[in-house]
C-alpha cells in the first residue's frame, strides 16, 4: 500500500521533475516534444478538473438553496449567471459575432460579462484610495519614508503639483519628474531586485525539495 500511495507518486514526481529540468539544458527536438506532451496532458487534466470544479460549485450552491441558508438568494444568481452565458453560447454555436452582427453570446459577453468585470476592476480605484489613506498614517520611520516617496509621486503626476514644486523648490534646479524618475529607477528597483533574487533562490530550493522528495506534505504524511 505504501508503495502505491507513497513511493510510486514520489518516483513519478522525481522522474518528471528531473526530465523537465534537463530539458531546459537540452535543446533537442526530443525535449521540445516532451515539454509539449506534458503541456497537452496538463490541458486534458485541467478539462476534467474543471468539470469537477463545476460539480463542486453547483452542489454547494444547490445545498445552500435547498437548506435556505443565510444568503441563499445569492446562490440563485450562480445558476442564473451560468445559464445567461451557457444558453446563448449554445444557441450561437460558440460564435460571438456573425455577418448579421452580435450573436446572443456576443451580447451576453459584451453587456453582461464585460460590464460586470469592468465594474469589479473599477472598484479597485476606490480601494486604492482607502488603502492609500491607511498607509499614509505615519506610525513609524519606514511609514514616513513611504509617505514622502508616495507624496512626491502623487505631486509629480498632477499639473498643479508640478506648479507647486516649481514655485517652492524650483531654485534647486531639479524638476519633480527628475525626482520621480530617480525614486522609481534607483531605490524602488533596488528593493524590487532584492525581493526578486530572494524569490528566485527560494523557488529553486522549493523545486529541489519537491523533486528530491524532501518536501512531500502535498501527499499527506505517513
Amino acid at each position: 500500500m505504501k508503495l502505491i500511495k507513497k513511493h510510486i507518486p514520489l518516483a513519478i514526481v522525481m522522474v518528471t521533475g528531473v526530465l523537465t529540468l534537463v530539458s531546459y539544458y537540452v535543446p533537442n527536438k526530443l525535449s521540445v516534444n516532451y515539454i509539449e506532451t506534458l503541456s497537452q496532458w496538463e490541458n486534458i487534466v485541467v478539462a476534467f478538473a474543471f468539470l469537477l470544479g463545476l460539480i463542486s460549485l453547483f452542489f454547494s450552491h444547490y445545498n445552500k438553496i435547498s437548506r435556505k441558508a443565510d444568503g441563499w438568494g445569492y446562490s440563485v444568481f450562480v445558476f442564473v449567471g451560468f445559464l445567461a452565458m451557457v444558453l446563448p453560447a449554445y444557441l450561437s454555436h460558440g460564435k460571438q459575432m456573425t455577418d448579421a452582427g452580435l450573436t446572443p453570446l456576443g451580447w451576453s459577453f459584451k453587456f453582461i460579462y464585460n460590464a460586470l468585470s469592468g465594474t469589479m476592476f473599477a472598484v479597485l480605484a476606490f480601494y486604492i484610495v482607502s488603502t492609500a489613506y491607511r498607509s499614509f498614517r505615519i506610525k513609524s520611520m519606514q511609514a514616513f519614508v513611504l509617505f514622502v516617496a508616495a507624496f512626491i509621486l502623487i505631486l509629480g503626476k498632477v499639473p498643479l503639483g508640478q506648479i507647486i514644486w516649481d514655485s517652492v523648490l524650483g531654485w534647486t534646479g531639479q524638476g519633480v519628474s527628475d525626482v520621480i524618475e530617480w525614486i522609481m529607477q534607483v531605490p524602488a528597483v533596488a528593493g524590487k531586485r532584492g525581493i526578486m533574487i530572494g524569490i528566485s533562490i527560494g523557488a529553486i530550493v522549493t523545486s529541489l525539495k519537491i523533486i528530491f522528495g524532501i518536501e512531500k506534505q502535498y501527499m499527506g504524511k505517513d
Binding site: 531546459y24 539544458y25 537540452v26 535543446p27 533537442n28 527536438k29 526530443l30 521540445v32 496538463e42 487534466v45 485541467v46 478538473a49 474543471f50 468539470l51 469537477l52 470544479g53 463545476l54 463542486s56 460549485l57 454547494s60 445545498n63 443565510d70 444568503g71 445569492y74 460586470l116 468585470s117 469589479m120 476592476f121 472598484v123 479597485l124 480601494y127 486604492i128 482607502s130 488603502t131 492609500a132 491607511r134 498607509s135 524590487k192 525581493i195 526578486m196 533574487i197 530572494g198 524569490i199 533562490i201 527560494g202 523557488a203 529553486i204 530550493v205 522549493t206 523545486s207 529541489l208 525539495k209 519537491i210 528530491f212 524532501i214 518536501e215 506534505q217 502535498y218 499527506g220 504524511k221
Partner: protein, 411 residues
C-alpha cells in the same frame, strides 16, 4: 559590298561589346559560410562572412534562402552593412567566438517555412546592394540544421544549479534535530493568534490560495501552509473555508485538508465543502470571495499564493470587515497592496519557507539554509562583480567587462 561589310563589322563589334558588358560578373563576397546554429532545436542556421571595409552607409546586404538545388530563392533578411556583426549574436563568450570584423546572421528557418521544415538541407546566398543594384554576390552554400544536445550558453546557469544542489544535499544530510537557528517570521507566529481569535469569536477563517495553478511555486507553498493552518484549525475545532480559483488546486487542497484533520485526530470535523470551487475568472472570483467575506465577517483571512489585481480587492474588503489578515505572495508588484491592507505580510521567499517553519521538520528547516547560501553567493557575486565592472570600465577593458556581464546573464 564594302558598305555591307562595314555594317556587319560594326554590328559585330556592338554585339561583342554588349555581350562583354552583360556577362561582367558582380564581384564575389569571399569567405561566405553557412553553419548550423549551435545550441538550438535544429531550425536555425547562422551565416558568417568577413565585413568589407569598403562598405558605405548606403550599402546593404540581402540574404536569400532556398530549399531547391537551383532557384526558388526567398528573401530571408535584409540589413545595413554596418549592422549584424559577429558581436551581435546573443551568445556568451564561452559559447560563441564572434568578431566585429565579420557579419553573422541568424536565420530562423521556422519563421520562413513553418514549424515543420520542408527540407533537411537549405541553400543560402548573400548579395551586397547599393542603390538597389547588386554590387557583390556570394557563392551558393548549403547547410543541414540539426538539433543539439546541450545548451552551452546556459553553462553559467547549470554551474550555479549544480553548486546549489551540492549545498542542498549537504544541508539535508546534516539536518540537525536541535539548535538550528531560524529567524522569527512575525506573520507565521501570528497564525496561532489568528486561529485562537477565530475560535473565541466563533467565526470562520478564510484561506485564499490565490489565482495560481498547481504549477506555480507560490501555490505549492500555499498548499503546504494550508496543511499546517488546517491542522491547527482542526485542533482548535474552529472553521475554515477555502474558496478556489483553480479546480486542480482545489482537488489537491481537499486531500491536504482532509489529511490535516486526520493528523489532528478530528476526521469527524472534516467537511467536503471546506474547499469550494468559486470561479476560474479573476474578477468573478474576487467578487464572490468579497461577497463571502462581507456576509460572514470572518475572524481571520489568509491570502497565500499567487495574486494579481484581485489582491487589493480581497485584502481591502477583509480589512473593512475587521478580520486579522495575514498575506504572502511572490508577486512583488502586489506586495505593496498587502503591506497596506494586511496585518502581516510574507515577502516572497518567506512564503516558500513558511511550510518548513510551521512544520518544524529538521530536514525541511535545513533546506532553508540552502536559500541563505544561495543569497550569500549572489551577494558576494554582486559585490565583486560591481567592483570589477567599475574597474574594467574605468581602465577601458571593454572585452573584460562584457565577459563579466555575460557570466551573470540568462540565455
Amino acid at each position: 559590298m564594302i558598305k555591307t561589310k562595314v555594317i556587319t563589322l560594326i554590328a559585330f563589334m556592338l554585339f561583342a561589346a554588349g555581350s562583354a558588358f552583360a556577362a561582367k560578373p558582380a564581384p564575389a563576397i569571399d569567405g561566405f559560410a553557412a553553419l548550423d546554429m549551435p545550441y538550438d532545436v535544429g531550425n536555425a542556421a547562422v551565416l558568417r562572412w568577413p565585413a568589407n571595409p569598403a562598405d558605405t552607409d548606403d550599402t546593404s546586404y540581402v540574404v536569400y534562402v532556398s530549399t531547391h538545388e537551383t532557384g526558388g530563392w526567398l528573401e530571408a533578411d535584409r540589413f545595413a552593412a554596418a549592422a549584424k556583426t559577429g558581436k551581435d549574436i546573443e551568445l556568451p563568450f564561452w559559447a560563441w567566438n564572434g568578431s566585429a570584423a565579420e557579419h553573422a546572421v541568424k536565420i530562423e528557418l521556422n519563421n520562413l517555412f513553418g514549424e515543420s521544415l520542408p527540407s533537411s538541407v537549405f541553400q543560402f546566398r548573400v548579395t551586397a546592394e547599393k542603390n538597389k543594384k547588386v554590387i557583390a554576390e556570394s557563392a551558393v552554400v548549403s547547410v543541414m540544421p540539426v538539433g543539439n544536445w546541450f545548451r552551452l550558453d546556459r553553462l553559467n546557469n547549470l554551474i550555479l544549479l549544480i553548486v546549489l544542489i551540492i549545498i542542498f544535499f549537504w544541508a539535508v544530510s546534516h539536518a540537525k534535530r536541535k539548535g538550528l537557528f531560524i529567524r522569527r517570521i512575525a506573520g507565521l507566529d501570528a497564525i496561532d493568534e489568528a486561529i485562537g481569535r477565530a475560535t473565541e469569536m466563533g467565526k470562520p477563517i478564510f484561506y485564499v490560495p490565490g489565482i495560481g495553478s498547481m504549477g506555480s511555486i507560490s501555490t505549492i507553498a500555499s498548499a503546504f501552509i494550508l496543511g499546517e493552518v488546517s491542522k491547527k484549525v482542526a485542533q482548535y475545532d474552529s472553521q475554515i473555508k477555502v474558496p478556489h480559483y483553480d479546480p486542480i488546486v482545489m482537488t489537491v487542497c481537499k486531500e491536504i485538508v482532509k489529511q490535516s484533520y486526520m493528523e489532528a485526530g478530528r476526521p469527524d470535523s472534516y467537511r467536503e465543502d471546506i474547499n469550494q470551487f468559486v470561479s476560474a475568472d479573476q474578477f468573478s472570483y474576487a467578487a464572490s470571495v468579497d461577497g463571502m467575506i462581507s456576509r460572514e465577517k470572518p475572524a481571520a483571512c489568509f491570502y497565500m499564493g499567487y495574486f494579481m489585481a484581485e489582491s487589493l480587492l480581497l485584502a481591502e474588503v477583509g480589512a473593512t470587515s475587521g478580520a486579522i489578515q495575514i498575506a504572502g505572495t511572490d508577486v512583488e508588484h502586489q506586495l505593496p497592496f498587502f503591506f497596506t491592507a494586511c496585518d502581516y505580510t510574507l515577502i516572497g521567499e518567506e512564503l516558500y519557507a513558511a511550510g518548513a517553519y510551521l512544520s518544524k521538520e529538521p530536514m525541511l528547516l535545513s533546506a532553508l539554509k540552502v536559500q541563505d547560501f544561495g543569497k550569500l553567493i549572489v551577494m558576494v557575486s554582486v559585490f565583486f562583480g560591481m567592483i570589477l565592472v567599475v574597474l574594467g570600465a574605468k581602465l577601458g577593458w571593454t572585452d573584460f567587462v562584457q565577459g563579466l556581464l555575460h557570466l551573470f546573464k540568462g540565455y
